[in-house]
């Protein structure tokens, strides 16, 4: 029998990213209306097409209803009580990292993000987003040598407006869903990546999202375009301070892969999840979608979801190109009163398309962890295949693990396989490990790590180790 007391006595690791940076910020008034949207657009000196895009999205959002099908029980969000633009005050133009407010650099330093020169050696280019704006992007010159554009989306709007106008909203249209419409209306910053034809991005690209103020939401937008025969690996991380109030995070990520291009998008989401009583925490409503437009293109999503009070996230792939490939690898861990409703959508449109889904859910405490996915074979998806595997692990008898796979096929010459299972930490395995002198906590953490291995293997090296550690920390004190 798992010793409950022993487990509960394990010292809990506090949320170590929960500090607030004391910095002067520029905020606009609370509330959401056309004037606010115009103001955001004006502050960012945007061209007319983008303002029109925002206003159109806002009109659509006003007519939409907040979705309730996931059955997530969270308190009503007052959209008029949110600040939609908040940015740290700094000099007008930053030409080098030396000009960034040292406090900001210190913040990212504390978070372990390599912005400063000596840490640049890690060979990962970073775009750091603080509240509503991008603070800095590293390795830009090196990347530019290869023709890779990696900058904040605000800069891209100014410098590469043709690309933005061509691709923005083509994967996730403004009317896609309630939160995507909201994001399209008020998005403040995010990252933009363009990989030219035939280029394999020389280093991993990464963006780091930090929410610092408690009363403002974060609405970032990411757009990645991989031209023919190019490839890129993109990492995303996020943290926020601990506040008693809930903060809204509604992001949109759009990926476009042309012929033979490949995009790997990895996320470690560690937003503040609220305390044990469920007070505070981030409401994370994210729309992520990739379009495999070209032949033999590939989009791979891998995610480790450990934070947020509410997670509502379904990274999807539209497989249009012949023989295109979509992948989704996910570990979602919920503890205390967290609720995660996450999964994927694999829409097979083109012939001979393939998709793989591996989802691992771990629920502890009083949390609810659901996998919700859709696999659809369209009428033209001849010779297409899908394989899905969804495993859940329950820790304690108060947590809930749900699996809701929707499978739809209109193509007889295609194959869909789905399997799901639920288990708990096996007492036999635990006993075996303990009898070999392995500490209880370590044994649990080893077993959880083994359970998630299929997914961790897909993460880039830097993330895999971090994810493993993160999971072990999050689980401390919850087994029993």
């Amino acid at each position: 029998m798992v010793n409950e007391n022993l487990v509960k006595n394990v010292v809990k690791e506090p949320y170590k990213y929960g500090f607030v940076t004391d910095i002067e910020t520029e905020k606009i008034a609370k509330g959401l209306n056309e004037d606010i949207i115009r103001l955001i657009s004006q502050k960012k000196e945007e061209p007319k097409f983008l303002l029109d895009f925002r206003l159109k999205a806002f009109k659509k959002w006003q007519k939409m209803k907040e979705p309730d099908w996931a059955g997530l029980g969270y308190k009503q969000i007052d959209y008029q009580d949110i600040i939609y633009y908040s940015a740290p005050k700094q000099k007008e133009k930053i030409s080098s990292l030396d000009e960034v407010d040292p406090k900001l650099l210190e913040t990212f330093d504390k978070l372990g993000i390599p912005l400063t020169e000596q840490k640049k050696l890690t060979n990962v280019a970073v775009d750091a987003v603080f509240d509503s704006v991008s603070i800095a992007t590293t390795f830009r010159e090196e990347l530019a040598e290869h023709g890779v554009i990696f900058c904040s989306i605000s800069e891209a709007v100014k410098n590469h407006s043709d690309l933005i106008e061509k691709y923005l909203g083509t994967v996730v249209p403004a009317s896609d869903n309630y939160f995507a419409a909201l994001n399209s209306a008020v998005f403040s910053d995010g990252s933009f990546v363009y990989i030219p034809k035939g280029v394999t991005c020389p280093m991993d690209l990464s963006s780091y999202f930090r929410i610092n103020s408690g009363d403002s939401g974060q609405f970032e937008r990411t757009l990645i375009i991989a031209e023919e025969s190019s490839s890129v690996s993109y990492l995303e991380g996020c943290t926020a301070p601990m506040f008693d109030t809930n903060t809204l995070h509604a992001a949109v990520v759009e990926l476009i892969a042309l012929d033979h291009a490949s995009i790997k998008y990895s996320t470690v989401q560690n937003w503040y999840a609220g305390d044990e009583e469920g007070i505070g925490g981030i409401f994370n409503f994210v729309t992520k979608r990739g379009k495999c437009l070209g032949k033999r293109s590939k989009i791979s999503w891998s995610q480790v979801e450990t934070g947020s009070a509410i997670t509502w996230k379904y990274p999807s792939c539209l497989l249009l190109g012949e023989e295109s490939v979509g992948e989704f690898y996910s570990v979602a861990l919920t503890n205390n009163l967290q609720q995660a409703d996450t999964g994927t959508k694999m829409i097979h449109i083109g012939p001979k398309t393939k998709s793989t889904i591996v989802s691992k859910g771990i629920s502890a405490g009083n949390s609810i962890n659901s996998y919700r996915g859709l696999v659809k074979m369209g009428t033209k998806a001849t010779g297409s295949r899908n394989y899905s595997q969804c495993d859940s692990m329950l820790i304690g008898d108060q947590a809930s693990a749900n699996t809701f796979p929707y499978i739809k096929s209109q193509q007889p010459n295609s194959e869909i396989e789905h399997e799901a299972s639920t288990c708990r930490i096996s007492e036999d395995q635990l006993f075996y490990l303990q009898s070999r002198g392995i500490e209880f906590e370590e044994a649990v953490s080893m077993m959880v790590s083994g359970f998630c291995r299929d997914v961790f293997n897909q993460l880039p090296m830097e993330f895999a180790a971090e994810a493993d550690k993160l999971l072990a920390l999050k689980l401390e004190g919850s087994v029993g």
Binding site: M377, T379, S392, L394, I395, G396, D397, Q398, A399, S400, A401, N402, T403, F404, P405, Y406, I407, K408, S409, Q410, Q411, P412, N413, S414, E415, I416, E417, H418, E419, A420, S421, T422, C423, R424
Partner: protein, 405 residues
Amino acid sequence: MEIIEKIKTNKSIDNLTEIQKICLDKLQASPLPNPKSEQWRLSNKSKFSNFLNYSVNEKKSKFDTPFPNTSQSTIRLVIGDNCQINFIEENYSIKQLSEDKLVKYIKEQISCFDKNENWSDLLNLSLNCTKNILGLKINGSEIPPIEIFSHASINSLNAKTLVIFLEKNCNIDLLQVNLGKDNSSLSQSTFVCLEENSSVNHGVVSYGENKSNLLNSLNVIQQNNSEYNLGSLHFKFNYARFEIRIKQSKGNAKTNIKGMQITKKDEQISTFTKIDFHGPNGFLDQINKSLADDKSHAIFEGSIIVPKIAQKTDASQLSRNLLLSNLAQIDTKPQLEIIADDVKCKHGATISQLNEEELFYMRTRGITLTEASKLQLSSYFQEIISFIPVSKDRWDLLDKLLNEN
């Protein structure tokens, strides 16, 4: 609202019964199921409104059973026949439930109805006068197989209700046959209550004729140590829904379900199952097969609910589907909702067409493509058909399926 008016002005019923009144009241609040609800989302709206379109006045029609009763020992009943049932033998007794008990039981059931989930039962009980409700109380052992028939008459919407109480330590083989006639709609609701240590091998075979429709709802409550085995087969309906709700009220019970639905032309047949474990040590083994051809649509939605109390539950659910045409479609959604941690639960789903390698193998051995496909289909069907309690010499279901498909 139209259906409620139709029931209220039904000339063949003199007075509405108490149950009809209660159900009509409930239906008044939701005259039609919510098309956005998970249970009704995929239901074809025009086919469903066609289901409700027929006259609710019952017409007398001749009824022929699909196979002769060759065995003297088999008990054969037709719902609506109005004959008094009272079989008392040395080892067993089959009695008709008294009206009071029947009304009391149905009222208890109605009190737990959900307006979307049990909409089919509400409609059934609103339509039904006493003569089309058959209530049986069975006890004893070595009970002969029981066959119960329901049918709808041409150009009408008829409802039939069956309530069966199996007392302690009782084992039976029960075959329920629902027959649809040309241009007809049948609403069949069945309530089965298994007491401790009882077991039933339940077969449900539903098939229709041209443009017949069916709403078939099955509600089962299992007590401790009971075993419920269900084999079901639905085919040849323009529109059919089979709703299975099983509740293991105290756990320690066993449920085996093997179901199949076959759709052709532009038919739509759907199966919804909800298995609720309300106690520890429950067991479920479920397989649902669909075959969709031409422009048809087959749907399966199954949910397994394991609350905290249901520790040591062992449940598995498998949905296997064959899609044989470019214009047909299959939707499947197996679901798990689990809170208890010491459980073994799994589900799986596959959609594909006939195995090409197997077909090729058979053809290299001189078997024609048609024959080879038939052989494959027969092995696909056989797993389910062998689970339905009807002997081959009386009714060869496999033969019937292969010849009609």
